[in-house]
């Protein structure tokens, strides 16, 4: 690898001083012949072998630890919750991995684990490993526990990863979701309220509409001035006056020719002015139509104002869904968030189709970049768990019972596998908190449209108790049944959650004990007399902002009794509120409606006048033209 200007290194190795050749030195006849360099340095294989040996030794000593840490970090990032692995052993000879002490923290309750397993064995297909793909032939789990308490709370995964973002999004949505409030205001406190007009949406909308009407009017005025109709009329009048009484005889041939040309020019100007007027008319109609729509929306705003003003009265809740939402909304929202979170993760990590998929690259000192997966038809997916089975029994504790779970075709590329993920689980533990539970799920991302469905039914369940919002009561539903139907079709969701119990107990909540007003005492008596509880929550709509409707026998009973006792008084109060809103709205919107009407009428009037005047001028000029030409030149 010698090059011109270089010095053979054997000279240096013999200890001769380095002497660069001077640029101007004459070529020497005794210059040594250029020596051919060896291309390969075989002694370099020794350090290379050492490097490989070191890598091998590092793998033997620390390989398991590195894989454990990497797996733990990757799972934590993917699931958005802390995943701990106590130990991991890679068995290269068997192409299998054995994990011990797996614990996945509950993202919604950092002091608990969603699932913990003492032992997991994963047998891999070795051939796909060459393509950096994980195809799991067998997957076995032992010592599974659900919902266990953690020794230390899990750390918050506060990053911008998909899972953390999804979790944040759901929490933000839940925080913004406005539960109906169970209002049991004493009847005797319902009085006339003093409404501040600026609080009403209709008034704000009317003010904005008035400003818009002014700006439309200003714009139309500017356009009118831009039409320059006055100049056109003046020009036409001057020509008509000049040609009054003129004839070809008085004007001569040249004068007549010039007069005809002038008439034609001014007629052309009038036609152009007509076109401008028509264009302005179209603009004016569009502007007024927008204002009309604004006037129409005032009625919608008024309906919202009725609800707002009614809210200020703090009337007792009368409607069944409202009471149901108030009583069971928080519980339903909590469950819904959990289901949606896992469904969103399934959608993210099991996308349909075979398009290249960029994902954030690995964390390192250098930038992560994006790592792109290129799925290929009839090849292995990046990850595929062909089938997994879990059968185990727990003898003691709250989780005692026999468990069976089956999982098939869990993969990152469903389109390659061609079959949806199927999951089923069953628990039989008579006498425990969850006597019998069956869960089945189909996650179908094979085609273009993703459809996930989950059905969970539980019987002989000990339904957890909860505090009744608005009343110092605690509900202990006792043992009952529960069913969850969840279907996610694309970005829309339809879910139904039902809980039934026939051994409900109502206990005073000492932490919230207080003196009850007459209405609260009534409701407390009503609900305390109920032994059955049946709650149904329906969630439908876009997955991130669905509508939630909750109904129960409880709210029907409460609504009926409240209506019986206080219905008349409440109706009177509501009527007063509506009248007050109507008064304020009429006062504030009437000028705006009038202004819009005036604008419409004025623009129509001005357009009509302009049209008539232009036509009149055109007729006059045409008359002059006819008299000059004797009607021989066609119009």
């Amino acid at each position: 690898m010698s090059t011109p200007g270089s010095v053979p290194t054997d000279r240096a190795s013999r200890g001769a001083p380095y002497t660069p050749e001077s640029a101007g030195a004459p070529p020497s006849e005794e210059r040594p012949r250029r020596e051919r360099k060896r291309l390969v340095r075989w002694q370099g294989l020794i350090p290379l072998a050492l490097v490989l040996l070191l890598l091998g030794a590092f793998w033997l000593l620390f390989g398991d630890r590195v894989v454990r840490q990497t797996a733990s970090e990757a799972a934590t990032k993917a699931l958005g919750t802390q995943v701990d692995i106590a130990s991991l052993e890679v068995r290269e000879g068997e192409s299998s991995i054995e994990l011990r002490g797996l614990a996945i923290a509950d993202p919604f309750d950092l002091r608990r684990n969603v699932v913990a397993a003492e032992r997991i064995r994963v047998e891999l297909d070795p051939v796909p490993l060459l393509e950096k793909k994980l195809v799991i032939r067998r997957f076995s789990v032992g010592g599974v526990r659900l919902g266990t308490a953690r020794d230390e709370p899990a750390r918050r995964i506060d990053d911008n990863g998909f899972a953390a973002t999804t979790l944040r999004g759901l929490r933000e949505w839940a925080a913004k979701y406005r539960h109906p409030v169970l209002a049991l205001t004493p009847i005797d406190t319902i009085r006339q309220i003093a409404l501040d007009p600026s609080q009403l949406g209709t008034v704000r909308a009317a003010t904005a509409l008035a400003a818009r009407a002014d700006s439309v009017r200003t714009a139309l005025e500017t356009q009118w001035r831009g039409l320059a109709l006055r100049e056109t009329f003046d020009s036409s009048e001057a020509l008509v006056t000049r040609l009054a009484g003129a004839s070809p005889r008085t004007l001569g041939i040249d004068g007549t020719r010039r007069a005809i040309a002038d008439v034609r020019r001014v007629v052309r100007e009038i036609e152009e002015a007509k076109q401008r007027v028509e264009a302005l008319h179209r603009d004016a109609r569009a502007g007024v139509a927008t204002l009309d729509r604004g006037v129409g929306s005032l009625d919608d705003a008024r309906r919202a104002d009725y609800a707002f003003a009614r809210g200020l009265l703090k009337l007792p809740s009368l409607e069944g869904p409202e009471i149901g939402g108030a009583l069971f909304g928080p519980v339903t929202l909590d469950r819904y968030q959990q289901v949606v979170y896992w469904a969103e993760l399934a959608q993210k990590y099991m996308p349909p189709g075979l398009r290249p998929r960029p994902q954030q690259g690995p964390e390192r000192l250098r930038a992560a970049g994006a790592t792109v997966a290129f799925p290929k038809v009839r090849t292995y997916p990046d990850f595929h768990l062909q089938s997994g089975e879990i059968d185990f029994a727990l003898a003691g504790g709250a989780a005692r019972g026999s468990y069976t779970a089956r999982l098939a075709d869990l993969t990152t590329t469903p389109a390659l596998v061609g079959r949806p993920l199927r999951f089923s689980a069953r628990r039989d533990a008579a006498g425990s908190a969850i006597g019998a539970l069956q869960v089945s799920a189909v996650i179908d991302h094979v085609g273009g449209r993703m459809r996930d469905s989950i059905l969970a039914t539980g019987s002989d369940l000990t339904i957890p108790g909860f505090a009744l919002p608005g009343l110092p009561l605690r509900v202990e539903p006792g043992t009952g049944t529960s069913r969850l139907d969840f279907v996610k079709n694309g970005d829309r969701v339809a879910a139904r959650f039902t809980v039934r119990s026939s051994s409900v107990r109502w206990l005073p909540d000492s932490a919230r004990a207080r003196e009850l007003n007459a209405l609260e005492a009534l409701v407390t008596r009503v609900v305390s007399g109920l032994n059955d509880l049946e709650v149904t929550a329906n969630v439908t709509g876009p997955i991130r902002a669905p509508a939630i409707a909750i109904s129960s026998n409880l709210d029907r009973a409460v609504a009926a009794r409240v209506r019986e006792v206080a219905g008349e008084e409440i109706a009177r109060a509501e009527s007063r509120v509506r009248a007050e809103v109507d008064r304020i709205v009429a006062e504030r919107t009437a000028p705006v409606r009038a202004r819009v009407g005036e604008l419409r009428a004025e623009s129509e009037r001005r357009v009509a006048e302009a049209r008539a005047r232009l036509e009149e001028e055109r007729q006059k000029l045409q008359g002059r033209l006819d008299s000059l030409t004797g009607g021989l030149i066609p119009r």
Partner: protein, 173 residues
């Protein structure tokens, strides 16, 4: 400390007598890939093997690595952009990538990462300019200030260490 000293020795020796300017430049061009691309990747193991086995200057490679390492960090956004264009925004290459990344062993190169691919492609494009520029620079250095540096006390002190002997194993012939 010993490692640093050895590295310093190798760098200084490289500039003075360790191989021809061509060998040093070839080492620097190969070493540049270690600095420009993320280190922990299979292709860098191959490059290291080439540096050790081919008759190029090992010191030159270390010098190239040291010089181009900060550039690698600085140019990551550019590499990311190049990688994205090649992997995601060039439909003509899509079938090539699909075939390549479904071929055994190839996925372990991590060339499906935008930074790895972008930096490697940038190195491929820059390797010849690096080689020629380095060869010219080493020749000029040796022809101008090299001899004065060689006579300096600093140079004598650095090259006196016996630890340097280990390094001579990889010295270009």
């Amino acid at each position: 400390m010993l490692t640093l000293l050895k590295l310093l020795q190798s760098l200084i020796k490289t500039l003075h007598s360790d191989g021809t300017p061509g060998q040093v430049a070839a080492g620097m061009a190969l070493g540049a890939v270690l600095g420009l691309t993320p280190l922990m990747n299979v292709h860098n193991l191959v490059i290291l093997s080439i540096i050790l086995v081919l008759n190029v200057s090992f010191g030159g490679a270390m010098l190239g690595w040291a010089l181009f390492l900060p550039m690698g960090f600085l140019l990551d956004p550019v590499f990311d952009d190049i990688g994205r264009r090649l992997l995601l925004e060039t439909p003509a290459l899509s079938s090539t990538w699909t075939a390549a990344f479904n071929t055994p062993v190839i996925p372990y190169t991590n060339f499906n990462n935008t930074i790895v691919l972008g930096s490697f492609v940038a190195w491929l494009a820059l390797s010849l300019p690096i080689f020629f520029a380095a060869r010219y620079a080493v020749s000029r250095y040796r022809a101008t200030v090299g001899e004065r540096v060689r006579r300096s006390r600093f140079y004598q002190a650095v090259t006196a260490s016996k630890a340097y002997n280990v390094y001579t194993w990889f010295r270009a012939d």
